[in-house]
């Protein structure tokens, strides 16, 4: 019998837990020739506001140890062009499209969500209340429990689509934000967005990216992200979508064992755009070796028994 990799996020059924993370996969169509988009559990679009946005001046990224800092600044085509130009093509390809919704005000989150509710082919809304790179809105909501509750409540009332706030790790206790989102009616939470970071060129004494500050992603952040997913999983009942430096099936499984129902792959997609089938194969291989019939049985199946001496490598 074929291994069952399917997972459910509320009413949303995905054939597998692998989702392309926002900002790391363009609008999905850029990867059309690289991977069959219908093979992915889902694709999250770049963050969208009502209007088009130019983003920050380059340089926008810098590599750091086992990771990268980015400050793209949410360059994007706006929700209307997305619905008109991208969504029909994503539908044609059988992609399960999650749309990353941004706003500078609470009303903008609601308005963008309404536009998407009226469109055909949106699987879910991921609320971007965690981008560290823009001045207004965004992370201001995500860094306040009240702000998180208010945005999620307002969008919840405006749409029947699944609502998934994406949480920032730049807070003291991320699980309390997952709880606020759950209380406000979120269908799931996704975490983590990037860690606020900076890098200086010591030769010139100037910043390495134009925005000075940016968000750190990649394998460097993975252990912190796993810990945060585990904390959220213990506190809330809604599904947790985990991400942060996933490069292969082992990394994906680590998040699932910590409590993630699904996982997103971001930076690794830049390193290896053909990562998707490799991780899918790796998951099937693990299930065969460990005699796991349903991948979803592994969600939160982490065993906190301390490791035996000498076997924890």
């Amino acid at each position: 019998m074929a291994a069952d990799l399917s997972v459910s996020i509320g009413s949303l059924k995905l054939p597998n837990p692998l989702i392309a993370a926002s900002g790391c996969f363009g609008y999905g169509l850029e990867y059309d020739q690289i991977v069959d988009l219908s093979l992915l559990g889902g694709v999250v679009s770049k963050g969208l506001f009502m209007k088009e946005r130019q983003g920050h001046p380059p340089p926008r990224i810098v590599e750091t140890p086992a990771g990268m800092i980015n400050a793209i600044g949410l360059q994007g085509i706006g929700v209307h062009r997305f619905v008109k130009e991208k969504l029909p093509l994503l539908r044609e390809r059988g992609a399960r499209t999650f749309v990353n919704v941004c706003g500078t005000t609470l009303d903008e989150y609601v308005e963008v969500s309404k536009v998407l509710s009226d469109a055909e082919g949106v699987a879910a809304i991921e609320l971007n209340i965690s981008c560290p790179n823009i001045k207004e809105g965004g992370i201001q909501f995500g860094c306040s429990l009240h702000g998180t509750f208010d945005v999620v409540s307002a969008v919840r009332k405006a749409t029947t689509l699944p609502v998934i706030p994406k949480l920032t790790p730049n807070v003291t206790d991320v699980a309390s934000f997952a709880k606020a989102a759950e209380d406000a009616g979120a269908d799931a939470v996704s975490l983590v967005n990037t860690f606020l970071a900076m890098a200086i060129d010591v030769e010139t004494r100037r910043p390495k990216i134009s925005n000075v500050l940016g968000g750190l992603s990649g394998p460097a952040i993975r252990p912190i992200a796993v810990r945060m997913v585990w904390e959220c999983y213990q506190l809330v009942k809604i599904p947790v979508i985990g991400m942060g430096g996933i490069t292969d099936a082992r990394d994906a499984l680590e998040f699932m064992l910590a409590g993630a129902t699904a996982v997103q792959i971001g930076t690794q997609n830049f390193v290896d755009p053909f990562v998707w089938t490799k991780v899918l194969d790796g998951l099937a291989d693990y299930m065969a070796r460990h005699n796991v019939a349903r991948l979803s049985d592994l969600i939160g199946a982490f065993d906190p028994t301390p490791p035996s001496v000498g076997t924890h490598l």
Partner: protein, 271 residues
């Protein structure tokens, strides 16, 4: 067609100087498809430092004695951690190589001439362009500037293809003393009415801006190959944007990996 991603064995890493090397890669499928001006994303295989690949113009298409394509080379200049790692690679090492990527140069044929303007490591895309132009029998000149005479590489390669050479060095050791834009402007001034030259350029951005400006001033078309910090090479990350302006529209930030790296010099907006 999707790009090819292969773990390519290093055939040779010829050090041209303490900074420059030509890294030859066994990537026949990439070589068979690469067009002049296209690039590959490269890093040592199986390591997380560097994590991301870096973009390199395809320098040469490698062929065996029978003319069968065996791979590509890239012209590498040590500038940071990643390029240092590539400089240190030896034959038998393996690199991850994704490509060919991006928009190639548009070629020209007689009566138009082709003027390729290279600054330093910006020589990289012109070996393949010169080969293609030679098959088209286009009258081709390489304007090539470097810091010193020792950093003018592959001159015999271009001469064998019948390319005329105009050289400049900042220390005055060979050719014109100073920037390559000096002899370029002289040539543009000397161009007869009705004659046309397609000006191709690759090098530091101030040089590209100067070349595009000169071409425009003398009413000649230009194509420039830009190099920006790039994350993915596929349009996914939006790191490598450049301001591009069509007609009277406002400038838009455009991804140089998929809309470039070759742009119409008249459409790029320079800082």
């Amino acid at each position: 067609m999707p790009p090819i991603d292969i773990d390519a064995t290093v055939i040779a890493n010829a050090r041209l100087s303490s900074e420059y090397s030509v890294l030859s890669l066994a990537a026949p499928e990439v070589g068979a498809r690469a067009l002049p001006g296209q690039f590959v994303m490269v890093k040592p295989a199986g390591v997380t430092d560097p994590l991301l690949r870096r973009p390199f113009s395809v320098f040469e298409i490698l062929r065996d004695a029978k003319g069968v394509t065996t791979g590509i080379s890239i012209l590498n200049k040590r500038a940071g951690r990643s390029t240092r790692r590539l400089y240190e690679l030896e034959a038998g090492d393996v690199v991850s190589c994704l490509g060919p990527l991006g928009q190639p140069f548009k070629t020209v044929a007689s009566p138009a001439r082709a003027w390729m303007v290279a600054g330093g490591v910006g020589l990289a895309p012109f070996a393949t362009l010169a080969e293609t132009l030679a098959t088209l029998k286009t009258d081709t000149t390489l304007f090539y500037g470097a810091r010193t005479g020792d950093e003018l590489f592959y001159l015999d390669f271009f001469e064998r293809l019948g390319v005329k050479l105009v050289l400049a060095t900042e220390n005055g050791a060979r050719g014109t003393a100073g920037r390559i834009t000096l002899p370029l402007e002289g040539a543009l001034q000397a161009l007869g009415g009705g004659d046309s030259a397609m000006v191709y350029a690759c090098g530091p951005e101030p040089m590209l801006a100067a070349v595009a400006g000169l071409a425009a001033r003398y009413h000649q078309p230009s194509q420039v190959s830009v190099e920006r910090v790039m994350g993915c090479g596929l349009g996914g990350c939006y790191s490598c944007v450049v301001p591009v302006k069509h007609g009277d529209e406002e400038a838009n930030l455009v991804r140089s990996c998929i809309s470039g790296p070759v742009f119409d010099g008249a459409e790029l907006v320079w800082d």
